[in-house]
């Protein structure tokens, strides 16, 4: 069978699977869900000219259907969990009842160096633990008291962010007034964030609200860093949360090529790195979905340009290093080539070792707002194939960008439901699924290898050249473990 025929079969299979899962829904839900599922089409001429491989045309960033088991989270998760939580020298209050902060406590693996509880606070859970009386009478007085208590017990905290949980916006609290008042009293940065879980349709609006809060409550104040000495090579890394150390294995490359990373948002970040960001020459965005807003703002207001880059897998890393270098002088361009050459032997060795063990393996992905496309080439570098991908909270622009990564015939699913994902996996039987903790165990029970692609399954880093070696090792150990061969009892296999 030729490759093309195989592709055609995939296309047919994928279309059939979509039709089948839709049949399971009541009519109203079926109408809504069908817009979110598609088989990637051939790109039109214009897209092709821009390097598009396919067109991934699904509806996205709209409300989830009730009762179907969406995998999505909420705005609070997008703000506290993603954007603000990793800022290490601030205290982030999960403002409201105890639950949200408890379940997200220490779960995102945002690595940092610091003395926890003394000068850093990332892996702690600060909450106002709302009780009934706070709901009835309002929580502003309690919040004021909390700010005072934090300042007394954690004197080295540089600032405080207030991460609103659902009830705050419903009971009419004025957390902005509290923030202003307390800021005046203490002189410390206090950032109120209106990221109540019911706002928007997923984590995504929480990212946006969190970005806006940086703009309104951090940037628009006195310059605390007037004497900061800049260089022509200053860059900020934006949207790298240092999961398992990702930002570190990225930073080392940027610095080796001659740049100076003056801020990393927000993995291992300090408040100073956020405040100073507008002084940099260029913003490098990794997670476009969660932080493009503030980059656009910095571009408009402070003339800091931005570019997207991708540090997953050697082909994207090299392309990104070169694209970044393009924005600088020859010194940096040479630096980029030097870095690429330096790591080439490692890349070759990794590919030589793992490609034979992984080539041709089929992968399905379902992640947040970036990785469903960003990691694709890392798999390709190892000879693996992506047969399906989708975003929890991608927007239209994410799906457009996805067309540059996946080929025609790929199954595309937006805000997939538990039912759909299970059926798709069953129907496609990929060799590996990359998704989150909620998906991990159902998939493994089906006898299919799995890697968590939010938390790197407690491994990492996966960014950069050092990270690629770990990525390759992890995919290999997931797929080629002997356990998958023992699922059927021997007296059953005969049947």
């Amino acid at each position: 069978m030729s490759l093309d025929e195989e592709d055609n079969n995939d296309r047919e299979l994928h279309a059939r699977l979509i039709a089948e899962v839709l049949e399971a829904y009541p009519d109203k839900a079926k109408k809504r869900r069908q817009k979110h599922l598609a088989v990637a089409k051939a790109p039109d001429a214009e897209e092709k000219a821009e390097g598009g491989l396919s067109e991934c045309d699904v509806k996205s960033n709209v409300k989830s259907v009730p009762g179907v088991m969406t995998i999505r989270g909420c705005a609070y998760a997008g703000s506290k969990g993603v954007v603000w939580g990793p800022v290490k020298d601030m205290v982030h209050i999960s403002h409201g009842p105890v639950g949200c902060g408890q379940y997200s406590w220490s779960q995102r693996r945002n690595y940092y160096i610091g003395n926890t509880g003394v000068d850093s606070f990332v892996t702690m859970q600060f909450t106002s633990d709302f009780q009934e009386r706070d709901i009835v009478f309002g929580g502003d007085k309690k919040l004021e008291k909390i700010v005072d208590e934090i300042n007394e017990l954690f004197p080295l905290a540089k600032g405080i962010s207030i991460q609103s949980e659902c009830p705050i916006g419903l009971i009419g609290d004025d957390i902005e007034a509290v923030a202003k008042k307390k800021k005046q009293e203490s002189g410390k940065t206090i950032v109120p964030v209106r990221c109540e879980g019911f706002r928007g349709v997923s984590q995504s609006l929480g990212h946006h609200i969190a970005n806006d809060a940086i703009r309104d409550w951090v940037f628009d104040k006195n310059d605390n860093h007037a004497d900061f000495e800049t260089t022509p090579y200053d860059v900020n890394v934006i949207g790298d949360y240092n999961i398992g150390g990702d930002a570190w294995s990225s930073r080392i490359l940027l610095e080796e090529m001659g740049l100076r990373v003056v801020g990393n948002w927000s993995g291992d970040a300090t408040l100073a790195e956020i405040e100073r960001a507008p002084k940099a020459k260029l913003n490098l965005i990794h997670c476009y979905r969660s932080m493009n807003y503030i980059c656009r703002h910095m571009e408009e207001k402070y003339n800091v340009p931005w570019i997207e880059y991708n540090f997953f897998g050697p082909s994207q890393i090299a392309a990104s290093l070169r694209a970044i270098a393009e924005r600088f002088d020859d010194r940096i361009k040479e630096g980029a080539e030097r870095v690429i050459a330096k790591y080439q032997p490692l890349v070759d060795a990794v590919i030589e070792k793992f490609r034979p063990r992984l080539a041709g393996k089929k992968v399905m992905l379902y992640v947040g707002g970036l990785r469903p496309r960003h990691v694709v080439n890392a798999y390709h570098d190892l000879g693996m194939e992506i047969t399906g991908t989708g975003y929890e909270f991608g927007h239209n622009d994410d799906y457009q960008r996805t067309g540059h990564y996946v080929k025609e015939g790929t199954l595309i699913y937006d805000d997939v439901t538990g039912y759909e994902l299970e059926r798709f996996i069953e129907g496609m039987r990929p060799d590996l699924v990359g998704s989150g903790i909620k998906e991990k165990y159902p998939v493994q029970k089906m006898g299919i290898p799995f890697r968590q692609m939010h938390s790197w399954d407690y491994s990492g880093p996966y960014h950069g050249y050092d990270g690629f070696a770990i990525f390759a090792r992890d995919m290999d150990l997931a797929i080629n473990n002997p356990v998958w061969g023992m699922f059927k009892a021997p007296w059953k296999s005969a049947a």
């Binding site: 409300k63 259907v65 969406t70 208590e149």
Partner: protein, 511 residues
């Protein structure tokens, strides 16, 4: 270059390589972090008595609490009924959190759906979400029962579950006769143990309301919210089987949270059958193994004329004795010889090891009944449970604990802290240190900060695997807890005496 394909380094070793150390040192210069001197000074201060007093004077801020919110308990208890899907009415993010939390502990799938309410539902109420949501859940997942609970959003706007569910049934979302029990589970009241109680009562009300009881000889047993439910419930069933008792476990999650890997994903497995739940109204008595998980449920059972009794996590010798005696008394079945032998073997093991346990001091935290049960067992080994803390513990719990301490000479100087959190515990450990800390995975931060070895015996356990598959209840469970304590003590002793030519004179072969 640190990375080498023959020995690929991931985060832990990678960032200790010289290139990265250098890089991080350079980064530090750009961070504006406080000086090392200041940090040491403040770090020491946070471990002082002065700090402890300020810390305990805290009135509003909660730091590292050891409790979760009501709907988690509701989702947990619902999972213990046959083919039951939890439907949590309110914001969807919360449900993603409960599912993740349970999956991370049990290393198992955890299914639950949300009604996915958003801003418009906040204004107009979530009726449509309920109507559509129930229809979708029913059709997609083919459950036998849908158990409805609430996130705090639905509670704050005051959605009325009873009328919503009725409307949904009228509109044909699910058949009229389909089982849709419900409970309001406001996150701003109590904790996950309260949610367990509310949801279980909601389920029993659904089946029992309006029924007349025809008493039989069976007993109902409610295990309560328990991270070790997989092992514990199976042990419980074994013991009840040995006694030959007719029983119904009201919410048995042991199979749901321990499904096999054989190529099939079972969204639903095992659990209390709906028929058994309905029949349970006729039981002679209902026993709760965790008092704080069941106050309303037991009251409800009493209202039907059932006898009730509650226990505090039956761990250790006397707690098991009491449970067995109670069951025996209620059913007329004697405690069988096998169990008496098991008891004797546990006592035997405790006697063999008593010298290593006598006088050891402990800090224990977790849910109120666990802390009680654990402290009681420590007292039985001649240990002293110095600091006992439950963030969701009440004044009444503190008093019960005080009575327990007073019942043993080893309880002198022990204190129970209700409503306190793990940052309080940090101060306790820093100012009055103990030999061992018993808690859950969050305790590893206390282990790091105060150098107190941690034993994980409480939900949630994220960073150690599969312990929950073994029981800690009953005599057999007691044996396992005993070995866990001893292993920690011996490992520590070995680590402390392993330095060749310095401390290894005590590196004894036999201990």
């Amino acid at each position: 270059m640190p990375q080498n394909v023959d020995k690929i380094l991931d985060h832990a070793p990678l960032f200790r390589e010289p290139e990265y150390k250098q890089m991080l040192a350079e980064k530090a210069k750009l961070e504006n972090m406080p000086s090392a001197e200041t940090v040491t000074q403040i770090a020491d201060w946070t471990k002082s008595w002065e700090y402890r007093e300020k810390n305990f004077a805290r009135e509003s801020l909660s730091v590292n609490p050891a409790k979760a919110c009501q709907p988690l308990g509701a989702v947990f208890v619902s999972a213990g009924f046959e083919r039951t899907m939890s439907f949590v009415h309110g914001s969807q993010g919360c449900v993603a959190y409960y599912r993740s939390h349970l999956s991370r502990h049990f290393k198992e799938p955890s299914s639950a759906v949300s009604s996915s309410m958003t801003e418009d539902a906040a204004v107009f109420g979530g009726l449509n979400n309920m109507v559509d949501g129930l229809a979708n859940t029913y059709k997609l997942y083919d459950p036998k029962m849908i158990a409805v609970s609430t996130t705090c959003m639905a509670e704050v706007i005051g959605d009325d579950l009873h009328s919503f569910i009725n409307t949904a049934k009228l509109k044909g979302s699910v058949p009229e006769t389909f089982d849709v029990p419900f409970a309001h589970t406001p996150a701003f009241v109590g904790s996950h143990v309260t949610g367990y109680d509310n949801m279980l009562k909601g389920i029993l009300e659904h089946f029992w309301k309006g029924q007349t009881r025809t008493p039989d000889t069976s007993i109902n047993i409610i295990p309560g919210f328990d991270g070790f439910a997989v092992g514990n419930n199976r042990e419980l069933k074994r013991v009840l089987g040995l006694m030959g008792v007719k029983y119904t476990i009201l919410s048995d999650v042991s199979d749901q949270f321990d499904t096999p890997s054989d190529g099939e994903f079972r969204m639903f497995d095992g659990g209390t059958s709906l028929e058994a739940a309905r029949e349970a109204v006729n039981a002679r008595a209902t026993l709760s193994l965790q008092e704080y998980c069941t106050p309303k449920t037991l009251e409800y059972a009493e209202s039907f004329g059932q006898e009730t009794a509650s226990f505090h996590y039956p761990l250790g010798v006397q707690a098991t004795d009491e449970l067995l005696q109670k069951i025996s008394e209620l059913t007329g079945k004697p405690v069988p010889q096998e169990l008496e032998l098991e008891r004797g073997r546990l006592i035997d093991a405790m006697a063999d090891s008593q010298s290593w346990l006598h006088g050891k001091t402990y800090a224990i935290y977790g849910d109120p009944d666990f802390v009680y049960g654990m402290a009681r067992f420590i007292l039985e080994t001649g240990g002293e449970p110095k600091h006992c803390l439950a963030t969701n513990g009440t004044k009444a719990w503190e008093e019960q604990m005080q009575e327990l301490f007073a019942s043993s000479p080893f309880g002198a100087g022990c204190k129970a802290w209700g409503g306190r959190d793990l940052w309080h515990m940090r101060s306790l450990l820093a100012t009055e240190s103990v030999d061992l800390l018993i808690g859950n995975s969050y305790g590893k931060y206390l282990e790091r900060d105060t150098d107190t070895p941690l034993i994980r015996l409480m939900f949630p356990i994220f960073d150690r695997h599969h312990h929950h598959r073994f029981p800690v209840w009953g005599y057999q469970g007691g044996l396992r807890v005993l070995v866990t304590l001893l292993d920690k003590i011996f490992d520590k002793l070995d680590a402390d005496t392993i330095d060749p030519g310095v401390t290894d004179y005590s590196f004894d072969l036999t201990r």
